[in-house]
Symmetry: C2
């Protein structure tokens, strides 16, 4: 039965684990297949054509595994490749940009004592996502008069992967990147890269407690829940025991360097995947490698 199939998730690497966590927390009856394209990470500095090709290969790999829905956890791939993936794959595809943008708008509109002016939304993301303008467009579709300011924060990804979540250098770098954003005084700030929730505390402190931080992964999990209901695809078999993150109901694949992935996963989620395999996805083929 289709409802019992897993939900597929792919990301350029480890960052999408924050989206996996959000999905896992919100949808305890579902199970997941995660693909981290660690052989070709990062996507954020690559071109449209290249990101599209990688995203299609990842999508086809997951589709071939039997999934009922595909979540593109990578912001860059969501920004650049969603239309091509939807053309190619015969199942529902959810990216992180639309949900993140919509949630930011709703969050601003529902703020009590909102000043009588257009809402102001900040977006922080990789270079490629900023250049694509995908968040700006998603926000404007939900609120045409919204003021939007975007900033690239290239060092946040390596800082998150190093696990430097509270180091003074991280605060200092955040200050340098985010001062113009703080001066812009946004009502909400979209964490437009999957790594950024790892630095949530630093980012919140830097832009000020009054700014709502929007985690696109959490927004995506909410929309996936609605879509599963709407399409009658939710898994009706309630899981009896409380499920753990990365337990053996969820299957993780990487395209390279599984050990490093497991270590960063532990840093991000507090636990290593119990089922983790290194594969090749070039051209949709699968060729096992020694891990």
């Amino acid at each position: 039965m289709r409802n019992n199939l897993p939900i597929g998730i792919f990301d350029s690497g480890v960052g999408g684990l924050t989206v996996y966590r959000a999905l896992h927390d919100r949808l305890p009856n579902e199970h997941f297949i995660y693909l981290g394209d660690t052989a070709r990470v990062p996507y954020g500095t690559k071109s449209l054509a290249t990101v599209e090709r990688y995203a299609l290969e990842n999508s086809e790999f997951l589709a071939s595994r039997g999934i009922k829905m595909l979540v593109v956890a990578c912001n860059t791939a969501s920004a650049l490749a969603l239309p091509r993936i939807r053309e190619r794959i015969g199942i529902d595809v959810v990216g992180v940009i639309g949900p993140g943008g919509r949630k930011a708008v709703v969050s601003c509109q529902s703020t009590p004592n909102r000043p009588p002016r257009a809402i102001k939304i900040g977006v922080i993301a990789t270079e490629a996502t900023v250049t694509s303008n995908a968040y700006v467009e998603a926000i404007r579709r939900a609120s045409p008069e919204a003021e939007v300011m975007q900033t690239g924060c290239p060092l946040f990804v390596p800082l998150a992967e190093e696990g430097w979540t509270t180091e003074p250098e991280t605060f200092s770098i955040a200050e340098r990147y985010l001062k113009p954003m703080r001066d812009f005084r946004p009502d909400a700030l979209v964490l437009g890269c999957t790594h950024y929730p790892i630095l949530r505390q630093v980012i919140q402190q830097t832009v000020g407690e009054g700014v709502s931080l929007i985690d696109s992964g959490e927004a995506t999990a909410e929309e996936v829940e609605e879509l599963l209901k709407e399409k009658g695809l939710a898994n009706p078999n309630a899981v009896r025991v409380k499920r753990g993150l990365c337990d053996d109901l969820d299957h993780f694949y990487v395209t390279d360097a599984a050990e490093r992935f497991a270590n960063v996963a532990e840093r991000f989620l507090g636990t290593k995947p119990s089922k983790l395999e290194a594969i090749e996805v070039y051209g949709g083929d699968e060729l096992k490698q020694e891990v």
Copy 2:
């Protein structure tokens, strides 16, 4: 005539431009073909099998262009893939690890007033290069009793690419990475990643002025000069006009995102390549992309 052929250089991305600069400065009669594998950068966090495959594809692309010698400018590829490249390619191949290790030893041995103890050499590099132990082996081959200490400095690459060469955050991060190295009190410190010469000033200040910094790129240029003489492969046609870096005698290829490469090249070398093309090297094929 073979002597007129260019020297091929490849790197995982832009970092090898520091090696290109060293070769260009030392060998004004030679011209170069540079390949930056920007579609698959970085190599430093990837596995042996993957780095080997990428390195072989890059080498075959350059060999197919007609070169008289191949310089593997990428430390990670030099550490992991040199034997396989030499097997595959019928020309002389020079990596950066051997020259860097040997130069460090010679530099220590020629220090006046050297204390009567084994020489002490530090190595800073990417995770993959450190794990490979390639520098330790190269140093021990030249000086079996040398004491060697290695440290990975993952944030140095993104800091160099951001152009943060004198920012206080860079000093602070260097202090965090290099304090154990300073305490080790090396006679020489090998900059075992092509990006690190960009941060030379910060690194020198952090470890102390008494430590000789060894730029593997410069060491490689010296060995390439000797090898060209030894094999009778030097270009006899003296260039009459003083050559500029990145002028149109040198040809640059990238596998992705040419514009970003040009921008970082300008940050590293003060100038953009005048001949720059984006190509595909997968499986040795060449397929032009729009730049």
